[in-house]
Amino acid sequence: MPNDYKELTRDKAINLCPVPEWLYVPLSQHIGAPAVSLVKKGDRVRRGQLIGSADAFVTANVHAPVSGEVVELLKINSPQGRLVDAVKIKNDFQDELDPNLKQYPPVSELDTETVREIIREIGLVGLGGAAFPTHVKVSPPQDKKVDTLILNAAECEPYLNADYRILLEHPNEVVLGLRLLAKAARAAWVVVAVEDNKKDALPGLKNCGVEEFARIAVLPSVYPTGAEKILVKKTVGRKIPNKGLPIDVGVVVVNVGTAYQLARSVQTRLPLTERVVTVSGEFANPGNYLVRVGTLYQDVVQLPANFATKDYRVVSGGPMMGFAVAALDVPVTKGTSGIILLRSQIFTETNCLRCARCVDICPLGLLPYRDRGLADCMECGLCAFVCPARKYLVQKVRADKLARQKN
């Protein structure tokens, strides 16, 4: 990718995003079953209180991001465009902590089972965007063995800097979180994988003793290095089988934000109720913000004046794999890594020239111009990015996958 647009927010320190009066906390912010609501209209909740309980295995707890009153249980649009159950909370601006929050034992006394329990309790999910429950990731089934944990610090999506800023500003927490995650997954080897455009974050990590237990792998800054299949291949040389997961080759991949959050929770007792979000593109307030989960996009970003007259898209996540949102009244969730405003046009498809750019650039060696054989596609978007005919290649893949699911 010739331009990654990271310079827009690269040097912006993480700022607190003002907490709004109304928060909409979805009970399904993760891959897996929605959490079951534990509150009802009129309940008073305090910050960090469990409001959505993880009753299945693949699911995650949801906690109150502020103290205040439950105003309503309602359906709301998620950034992905799905209608999900949510808890609407009126903020009383006291940020009173839930008295039931656990005091965790000192870090040195934590064993594997305890760390796994903490991870489950705090509702930790992959903060890179996919939001896969972390306790599932670090608790492999009996027949699978984990030997390697990779910290995914590639952040290869253009525009995004949330992980980079965390690395730069909170190396201590990242390293502590990484230690705990390695313990939880019982991984013998730990690798910190970072793209070479984030090399200036490495001295901080080294000062925090990361090299005592981890190897640092500096990878070239080429999208999509951070995709698990590519990352595992490049760092430990193992090929994840088709339709497989990193666990199939003994690897667990965790995101920078995930490690950071785990350390923060152990230190402060507070579960996952906020995350770092990169606001970039043509918004009036580009930057990196610490945002409470449940804050509406419109309370985080400021549209430039007169912007309504232009054609634009608001993207949730990175511009290569993120979702264009229909409106700004969707809430920030655990998986919201960025909110990007792009000038945009709708292009119509033209004839395929058979130029083979899609074939040459596909990181998985697929033949994107075809309408078959694409079940392994991870939708990184490079084929559509380079297509001179502007073919809707990723759209086709998604439609195809949906059709298969339905059959």
């Binding site: 898209r313 794999m321 979702f323 264009a324 945009s344 119509t348 130029c355 075809r370 978007g381």
Partner: protein, 313 residues
């Protein structure tokens, strides 16, 4: 207006128009060289071919009720390329006929841009060669337009002597000298845009720099010819510089639509072009074989694509 669309939300900015524009820019040096060597005749020939090609594309689009025709500039590229593979002295109405054939029968009847099996410009040339064999093999000398034979034709008929051992080759029967400097600059008889190796290489360098074409096809094509001629005890440099090989290898065989999609397919395609060109030049009925080699290999493209498509079900 807020736009909802599936990711990715960025694009490289390289569109079909940009690619066609780059090809036209890359053809500019060869066009200028043809103007130097063949004078205003070059302008007429290129103008008529482009005009006829664009007009045919326009009428075909009207007839087939197509939208967004012409703005991809592909008809202009076809017109220029056709002019480049025709003898400078060709009657203009024949050139126009070739352009109509190239666009209408070779391209549009197969579905238009991206769907044709054969390279349109080479298809147009093959049609003209079959229809007017004498005119299509009548060559003129640069600058004075005196009728003469091409270096390849002289070599074929044994009039280009001792091509291996001496840098300067005397064609005594025709009373003229052909040397490598002339061959490199383009000061020899031949098709309008094929004679100047220098100009073609400049254009090719631009296409490679802009990543418009894949280097595998020209490298495989030229490399195969070079190896073939080396083992056949022919003069390698002469065969690389003479005739339409450079134009074919960089601008014709690399045509997206009529070349394979996968890397393996491209190598096989390029090597096939190289072998066929060498065989035709050494033992075939024509002195030059670039046009037919590429057209023949064009036919194998669907099969070559299927080689790799079969793997991904």
């Amino acid at each position: 207006m807020k736009i909802l669309a599936v990711s990715p939300h960025l694009h490289s900015g390289v569109s079909t128009q940009v690619l066609m524009r780059d090809v036209l820019i890359a053809l500019l040096p060869a066009g200028l060289a043809s103007l130097v060597f063949f004078g205003w005749r070059a302008v007429w020939l290129i103008g008529v071919c482009v005009g006829a090609a664009v007009l045919t594309e326009y009428l075909a689009a009207q007839f087939f009720k197509k939208k967004n025709y012409l703005n991809d500039c592909s008809a202009v590229v076809t017109g220029v390329l056709l002019a480049f593979v025709l003898p400078p002295s060709l009657p203009l109405w024949m050139a126009a006929l070739g352009a109509v054939f190239a666009i209408l029968l070779v391209k549009e009847l197969f579905g238009g841009l991206g769907h044709n099996i054969f390279n349109p410009a080479l298809g147009g040339r093959a049609f003209l060669l079959a229809s007017f064999p004498v005119w299509l093999t009548t060559w003129t000398r640069p600058f004075d337009a005196v009728t003469t034979a091409t270096p390849l034709a002289l070599a074929k008929s044994g009039q280009l002597l001792d091509a291996v051992s001496r840098a300067t080759v005397q064609a005594s029967a025709a009373g003229q000298a052909v040397n490598y400097w002339d061959l490199f600059l383009g000061n020899v008889a031949g098709s309008l845009g094929e004679t100047s190796a220098l100009a073609l290489l400049l254009g090719a360098a631009y296409l490679l720099y802009r990543q418009v074409i894949d280097w595998r096809i020209p490298l495989g094509y030229l490399g195969t010819v070079a190896l073939f001629m080396f083992f056949a005890h022919e003069n390698v440099a002469f065969h690389l510089l003479a005739g339409g090989l450079l134009l074919g290898a960089f601008f014709m065989a690399t045509d997206y639509t009529t070349s394979p999609m996968t890397r393996r397919g491209k190598w096989i395609f390029a090597i096939g072009c190289g072998i066929l060109t060498s065989v035709i030049r050494l033992w075939g009925g024509y002195p030059e074989g670039v046009c037919y080699s590429i057209l023949i290999m064009n036919m194998f493209v669907p099969l070559l694509d299927r080689l790799d498509e079969a793997k991904s079900k």
